[in-house]
């Protein structure tokens, strides 16, 4: 405190509320008046939330199709077992039936089961600096990408790392078997990634009048890729390179070994898909490339409609309902206890 006050009481401490520990304060205590009403209130809130969420979730439709060995895909499955056949294309078809029409926007996901995108070394094996278009990193990828940083000849890989290397490379064509024959179900394959990912996190190296292939000259595609990164989407030039939507979606690693990733959204421009997917039979033609047998995984296709709450996950509504019941039960018990023991404060006597 440094300051020297003259006089006989020079060393007397200051009389501030803080120094004398007299700061005004609120001292709450768990009393019946606060706890019990709070519990009942919370029970009610949870109940309402639960019911509301349940209704919301119930209004969505979802269809999951495990196509690992479904339909004709069992052939491809067998084929992929052998590594030497990795480069050979294999196309198979799976059929399924939608009993109730999917109203509104329909989202098409591919799902992987037991694929650990969340392994530490796997997740580290990427170079964000490279994927944001840093030229340095394009030519000399981060050591985290090892062993997928350079190919056998020492040419840097772009995009490097295990994540990009293991990109999911099945592609799907969905057809609706209407009475008038098979109709291709149009899917929008863009706008399926986060805005921030598409526009900020992933950028192609600055082109300066060069074409994308020129930019990526001197780099090799990842080992398991059949196409170079600048040629991922032959249909749309602007969907190539690091800003390819499928790549971005893949690069957003899933938190758990079973996950689904957005593949496309139903394009509702033309009949019969203006209101969503009509009920009926569908077939999905799969370019079956991604091998899952190595890790005993499964592959699936998920079709779903969404609400503001997201997909069809019943956990939260049910959890809220259960919690609500739990709180209510506890509240009743506590009320009884309080009534019997605590009401008169007899336990509070010394």
């Amino acid at each position: 405190m440094g300051k020297v006050k003259p006089g006989p009481l020079a060393r007397r401490p200051d009389n501030s509320a803080f120094q004398q520990q007299r700061l005004p304060a609120w001292s709450p205590m768990l009393t019946a008046n606060t706890v019990l009403p709070f519990f009942y209130f919370m029970a009610l809130i949870c109940m309402l939330l639960g019911v509301w969420l349940l209704l919301t979730v119930q209004s969505t439709e979802e269809l999951k199709l495990d196509y690992t060995e479904a339909g004709t895909c069992n052939l491809c499955f067998e084929k992929r077992k052998n590594v030497s056949n990795a480069a050979q294309p294999c196309i198979c078809t799976a059929v399924f039936n939608i009993k109730k029409a999917f109203k509104g926007d329909v989202f098409f996901y591919y799902g992987l089961i037991n694929f650990h995108q969340n392994l530490r070394r796997y997740m580290d094996s990427r170079d964000d600096a490279q994927m944001v278009g840093r030229k340095n990193n394009l030519k000399s990828p981060s050591s985290y990408c090892m062993p997928f940083d350079k190919d056998k000849n020492g040419v840097p890989i772009a995009p490097c790392g295990a994540v990009a290397n293991s990109i999911f490379n099945d592609s799907f064509t969905l057809s609706y078997m209407s009475s008038s024959g098979s109709v291709h179900v149009p899917l929008l394959r863009k706008g399926i990634s986060w805005y921030t990912d598409k526009n900020i996190k992933y950028r192609n190296p600055s082109t300066e009048n060069m074409t994308l292939p020129q930019v990526f000259e001197g780099t090799a595609p990842p080992l398991y890729w059949q196409k170079p990164v600048y040629d991922l989407d032959p249909l749309d030039k602007n969907n190539n390179g690091f800003i390819n939507d499928d790549l971005i979606v893949w690069m957003r690693e899933a938190a758990f070994p079973s996950f689904k990733k957005l593949y496309g959204v139903l394009h509702r421009a033309n009949k019969p898909f203006i209101n969503g997917l009509p009920a009926g039979n569908y077939s999905v033609e799969i370019s079956y490339n991604f091998p899952v047998q190595y890790f005993r995984g499964r592959k699936e296709v998920v079709l779903t409609t969404l609400t503001w709450f997201g997909g069809q996950n019943h956990f939260l509504p049910i959890a809220y309902l259960v919690t609500s019941c739990l709180i209510l039960l506890i509240a009743i018990l506590l009320t009884v206890f309080w009534f019997k023991f605590g009401k008169n404060g007899q336990n509070m006597e010394e």
Partner: protein
């Protein structure tokens, strides 16, 4: 300090004897003696960094984090970026280093200040003013009055006659009384003659540097003669020259080799109970950490075997890594990830909290003593919470419980009692500060500080009541006080016991002024008239006689014997004619004693000239006898001290400090046991015990242990125990307790309240190994224990005994140098500052000016500190365990790959930023009830003694609670997220969103938990809590912003996560659900507990809520008046041997003040008569009634130093 210490050791080995020659630097140089510069600082600018870092890494926690850092650098292991450890570690190291640096700068400053003091040194035959640090061994220096002694000197000469100097040694040993040092005559003759001094070439051979303050051996060789040197000729550094014009000294030891510096050894580092518990817990946690990591490593091994080997297509293993090696690496990776169970910030926060709570003590106005301008001071900042756990208090008496002020309070003269004040209705009034004082202006020589309130006594004096006159004449004549008169009318008394000082001062004020004495006369001014009494004999005090008498011849030639002493003793020697007066006086004595006053009975008799001459002859013969002199003299004394005429009785109040009885009452309500350990004798101690409420009349019994043999002591202890616990068959302690080293002795319940008084002799036996448990057991069954006549060492032994076998927290409080040992021995030492020397304060952990502040220190500060620390620890472990366990659960989903659940920045900042301030706020501001209530309900202190707030059990509960919370925090988000997407179909179940979600849930959960813990929401707390949440979001959004990412893509890969997922309703619904589920069981559990079995705190808080206002002030305590017949009787802190001194004339350095010669030759005062002053080494003797004569101890005569001058 350690380097310095090592230095000393080396020197000691080399130096067996010190040789030096005065005024000869060349001669002394080769010995390489230390110069007078001192260095207490540890670092200089260059050594600071390496040395300080080296010291810091010696701490286990810092070393641990360094180890983690090393692990993190290994890429195969590193599961976290290096910055997660580096940032906190650097922060901690910087803060500590800054603190160390400031400390060291202060030390440098004080070193400089001391080293640059000026002193006059004789160099080149001239006196020159030099800095202290330039003084060298062998120099001759000149000191002037009130100067600090520069180094350890040999005294050469002084301005005073007989080459005396007076020094104050307060800084060295805490004793405030002046001590005398005397130079050799041969050097004394040098005087202040610079030429002679410059020619002085004496050679000194003496002992090497050591730390014994009371011993010195050496020889001086000068002019071919050898003179021996002892402690009497040495001035030690640290003392101050007083009442001496100047003196010259030869430097023997300088700087670090002085006895002062050799003595400031390392004080033992005290740790609190919580510290020790924490150490145990941290070890357990390490064990637990290893256990978790092992599980996860095994999990990893299995996973690698079953799954990982098939996943190698996508994630090839590094060369040669098989599952086993991978598991090994995983183990270390998880050690890094899970290290947050023992976070570095724990240690920092604990220190901050302790520091904060220490500041509160320093700041407390209610512990500030305005009269001496002394605030309380927390000298150690690491022991606060232990103040809330004190079970035993060991208190000194004099100066601690009492003010060590003796005031003449009451008297009974010829059957009339004086001293009380009555109002007009005849009601006795309480005497306060404001009661009208008696005006002594009629007496020019009166001591203005003396207070008396009963006017009737002055009236009686003025009316020349003969008994009253004789009474005061006796007080003015019969004593061994020395008077000094510096200026006319400014008398000051030097009394060896404060009682005597009080009595003589009383006589002085009532017109019987003791003015001066010679070996054979006493001059007093009786009612303005100078009279000189011939002092014929002093029948000195001793412990058996318990009285002293003087025989004087009045100027008129009348021979009288005046006697004062213990009532029982005097009563036996009274003339029969006094029996009636005796009864009246006895009644009044009882009344005085009942008020806790120390009483003395006064009697006199006139002597027959012839008889006296004959007696004197015999006395002379007896005093020259060679053997059996003592008993012969006693016989003679007995013979003449009989048929005395009773005059009356005096009552002296040994003033208690303010509020002592109330404090003791409060503390005993808080279930704290108070033991008084005093050097005083039994009667005095007992008396004080009663007056300060420690012993009570209502007690079933007060046992007095005063046996003289081990067997008797043992028997008395057993008897005491048997009467406390009738039917107790286990008189003998089980061998198992005695046999094994440390075992905690349980408290035993007894019916009734008992007190125990044990004297020094018995205590010595009781503290022997064979009996200590017996003693401890008996003593602990008693409510109050008083040990009298204990030595400083015994004080420490008693403390150690309780510490060792009771496993309780002890506190020792004292004020003098004799309390230092016990202050150092106890868990917490408290020094009473302000009056005595600083020794007790310097070795204490806390200091304040008044004993009564102890209750505030314990009941308020201690309790709060303990409460806060425990809350802090419980919460801190909870929040970190919860934080960490989530990783454990996640491991089962990420293939045990040591992937973290949270963003690395979150891991770095969680303890440092997001949760640091709220928990600090809680632990700095929390209070369950305010200080007024804490005082009113001392029972609130009990949980601390029982370790209720934080123990292994509480810790285990914390761990379970966190386990639950972490499961909620992991599995709820998992279940809610793993199969869902955003409202627009995009990803939300990705790792980054999940990390963000979990960490947000976690932060909400722990913040709400903090809110539940906190019972005192100040604005600051609220700000901290809410501010931290806001801070979290602010930091998160910043870290996840575009610009941060673009700045460093690899450091901030979470770009956009916050924006993309925190706008999702299901994210917030998940946060809400986890918060509810985390809080639910806690609230339920607590509410149920409050309803069913509320703790004392709950009850109090409930009560406070009901009262809604501050409690009514405690009822004014009326002074406890005891009506018992227990009489303190004789209480006279007197030492034997002063009578001889007074008459021998050795003490009297100069002739008694001569009235006629005027006042030109003003005498020097040695020291002002200060009733506060007390010789710390002074040990009054007192014997129990049954003591044998042969046991009379020799008392030290420290107060007066006899001067034996060879030249006399």
């Amino acid at each position: 300090m350690s380097f310095f210490g090592m230095d000393c050791v080396k020197k000691k080995e080399q130096e067996l004897e010190r040789k030096l020659r005065a005024n000869d630097r060349e001669y002394n140089l080769p010995f390489k003696y230390a110069t007078n510069a001192i260095k207490t600082s540890k670092y200089n600018p260059f050594t600071f960094l390496p040395l300080n870092l080296f010291e810091q890494f010696q701490r286990i926690a810092n070393a641990y984090f360094l180890f983690l850092l090393v692990l993190q650098v290994i890429p195969q292991i590193s599961s976290l970026s290096w910055f997660t450890t580096v940032v906190p570690l650097v922060l901690v190291l910087t803060v500590t280093a800054a603190k160390d640096a400031t400390d060291d700068i202060n030390r440098h400053r004080s070193d400089n200040q001391v080293n640059n003091r000026k002193v006059k040194v004789l160099i080149d035959r001239k006196l020159r003013s030099e800095k202290w640090l330039d003084v060298q061994v062998g120099d001759i220096i000149k000191l002037e009055n009130n100067q600090f002694v520069t180094a350890d000197l040999m005294l050469l000469s002084s301005s005073e006659p007989l080459n005396l100097v007076y020094i104050e040694t307060a800084e060295l040993d805490g004793e405030t009384n002046l001590k005398v040092r005397q130079a050799l005559t041969v050097t004394g003759d040098l005087g202040e003659d610079i030429e002679k001094l410059a020619d002085f070439d004496g050679e000194v051979r003496c002992e090497p540097p050591n730390n014994r303050l009371d011993r010195f051996t050496g020889t001086l060789t000068y002019a071919g003669q050898k003179y021996s040197l002892d402690n009497e000729k040495i001035l030690l550094r640290g003392t101050t020259l007083r009442n001496t014009g100047w003196c010259f000294g030869l430097v023997l030891f300088g700087g670090p080799e002085t006895k002062l510096m050799q003595n400031c050894g390392k004080s033992t580092f005290k740790r609190t109970r919580i510290d020790r518990l924490m150490n145990v817990l941290v070890l357990c946690i390490f064990g637990f950490l290893a256990f978790m990591c092992t599980i996860l490593a095994i999990g990893n091994c299995f996973w690698e075997l079953n799954e990982g080997s098939q996943f190698t297509v996508f994630l090839p293993r590094q060369d040669g890594n098989d599952a086993g090696f991978s598991a090994f690496l995983t183990f270390w990776s998880y050690v890094i990830i899970l290290n947050t169970v023992v976070p570095i910030s724990l240690y920092v926060s604990v220190e901050i909290i302790r520091l904060g709570n220490s500041f509160y003590i320093d700041w407390d106005r209610k512990m500030y003593y305005s009269r001496s301008d002394t605030p309380a001071e927390a000298r150690t900042t690491t022991l606060n919470e232990e103040l809330g756990q004190i079970k035993y208090i060991f208190s000194d008496k004099t100066g601690t419980l009492t003010q060590n002020i003796m005031t003449f309070n009451k008297c009974s003269i010829n059957g009339k009692s004086y001293g009380d004040v009555y109002d007009c209705t005849g009601q006795r009034l309480e005497i306060t500060e404001h009661t009208e004082r008696v005006d002594f202006s009629f007496n020019k020589l009166a001591d203005p500080r003396f207070r008396f309130h009963d006017h009737s006594l002055v009236e009686a004096v003025k009316l020349e009541n003969p008994e009253v006159h004789t009474f005061f004449r006796l007080l003015a004549l019969c004593h061994t006080v020395m008077a000094e008169e510096k200026k006319e009318g400014e008398l000051s008394y030097q009394a060896q016991s404060p009682d005597e000082g009080a009595l003589v001062t009383a006589a002085r004020n009532f017109g019987f002024v003791f003015r001066s004495r010679t070996p054979d006369s006493v001059s007093i001014v009786e009612m303005g008239q100078q009279r000189s009494y011939e002092l014929l004999a002093i029948l000195d005090f001793n412990n058996v006689r318990k009285r002293m008498s003087v025989i004087v011849r009045s100027p008129e030639g009348k021979l009288s014997l005046y006697c004062k002493g213990a009532d029982t003793i005097i009563y036996e020697r009274l003339h029969q004619s006094c029996s009636k007066l005796m009864d009246v006086t006895t009644e009044q004595l009882n009344e005085f004693a009942g008020e806790g006053l120390r009483t003395l009975v006064l009697a006199y008799k006139d002597l027959d000239e012839g008889y006296f001459n004959e007696w004197k002859q015999r006395h002379h013969e007896a005093s020259t006898l060679l053997d059996d002199r003592e008993s012969k003299l006693d016989e003679l004394y007995e013979e003449i001290e009989k048929d005395l005429l009773l005059l009356g009785a005096s009552a002296i109040e040994d003033k208690l400090q303010d509020g002592v009885p109330q404090t003791i009452e409060q503390l005993s309500k808080a279930d704290i046991k108070i033991w008084v350990l005093t050097g005083d004798k039994q009667e005095t101690a007992e008396n004080i015990g009663y007056s300060c409420n420690l012993l009570q009349e209502e007690m079933n019994d007060v046992f007095i242990i005063s046996a003289n043999s081990p067997e008797d002591v043992r028997q008395e202890l057993r008897d005491a125990r048997t009467s406390m616990k009738p039917g107790e068959d286990s008189v003998f302690l089980p061998e198992s307790i005695l046999g094994k080293g440390v075992k905690v002795m349980a408290d035993e319940a007894v019916n009734g309240e008992y007190g125990l008084v044990i004297n020094g002799h018995s205590l010595a036996y009781a503290l022997e190994r064979s009996m200590e448990l017996e003693f401890l057991r008996t003593a602990c069954m008693c409510k109050a224990v008083i040990c009298c006549r204990v030595t400083p060492l015994q004080k420490a032994q008693v403390v150690e005994l309780v510490k060792k076998y009771k496993g309780a927290v002890t506190l020792a409080i004292g004020d003098g140098a004799n309390d230092v040992s016990m202050i150092k021995a106890a868990h917490i030492g408290v020094g009473i500052s302000g009056q005595e020397g600083m020794q007790a304060v310097l070795s204490s952990d806390y200091s304040f000016a008044q004993f009564r502040f102890l209750q505030r220190l314990l009941l308020v500060h201690g309790r709060w500190s303990y409460l806060r620390m425990c809350k802090f620890l419980r919460y801190f472990f909870y929040k970190n365990f919860t934080f960490t366990f989530v990783h454990f659960w996640f491991a089962f989903f990420c293939g045990f790959s040591a992937q973290t659940v949270y963003d690395q920045w979150f891991i770095t900042l969680y303890n440092l930023v997001y949760t640091a301030l709220p928990v600090l706020g809680m632990s700095l501001f929390d209070q369950d009830v305010n200080d007024v209530w804490s005082f009113q309900q001392p029972q609130l202190y009990v949980p601390g003694q029982l370790n209720l707030y934080f123990s292994k059990k509480a810790f285990f509960k914390c761990a379970l609670h966190s386990c639950y919370s972490s499961m909620v925090l992991f599995f709820i988000p998992y279940a809610a997220m793993h199969d869902t997407v955003r409202g627009d179909g995009k990803d939300v179940a990705d790792y980054q969103s999940f990390a963000l979600l979990t960490q947000t849930c976690l932060l909400f959960a722990v913040t709400i938990q903090l809110g539940l813990e906190m019972s005192y929401w100040t604005a600051v707390n609220t700000f901290f809590v809410l501010g931290s949440l806001v801070m979290y979001f602010a930091v998160t959004f910043t870290m996840y912003s575009n610009s941060m990412f673009l700045m460093s893509p690899s450091a901030f890969p979470f770009i956009g996560t916050a924006r993309n997922s925190l706008n999702q309703p299901n994210i917030w619904l998940t946060i809400l659900l986890t918060s509810i589920l985390c809080v639910l069981p806690v609230v339920t559990y607590r509410f149920l507990f409050i309803q069913l079995c509320p703790t004392i705190n709950d009850k109090m808080m409930f009560k406070v809520r009901q009262a809604k206002a501050s409690p009514a002030p405690p009822p004014r305590r009326t002074r406890i008046r005891r009506t018992s017949s227990r009489r303190s009787g004789y209480a006279f802190s007197h030492a034997q041997g002063y009578g001889d001194l007074v008459t021998s004339g050795r003490f009297l350095r100069r002739p008694a003040f001569s009235r006629s010669s005027g006042l030109i030759n003003a005498g020097r005062t040695t020291t002002g008569f200060s009733p506060m002053g007390r010789s710390a080494g002074y040990s009054p003797t007192g014997r129990p009634q049954n003591a044998k004569v042969s046991d009379v101890e020799v008392t030290s005569l420290q107060m007066y130093r006899t001067i034996t001058d060879p030249s006399l």
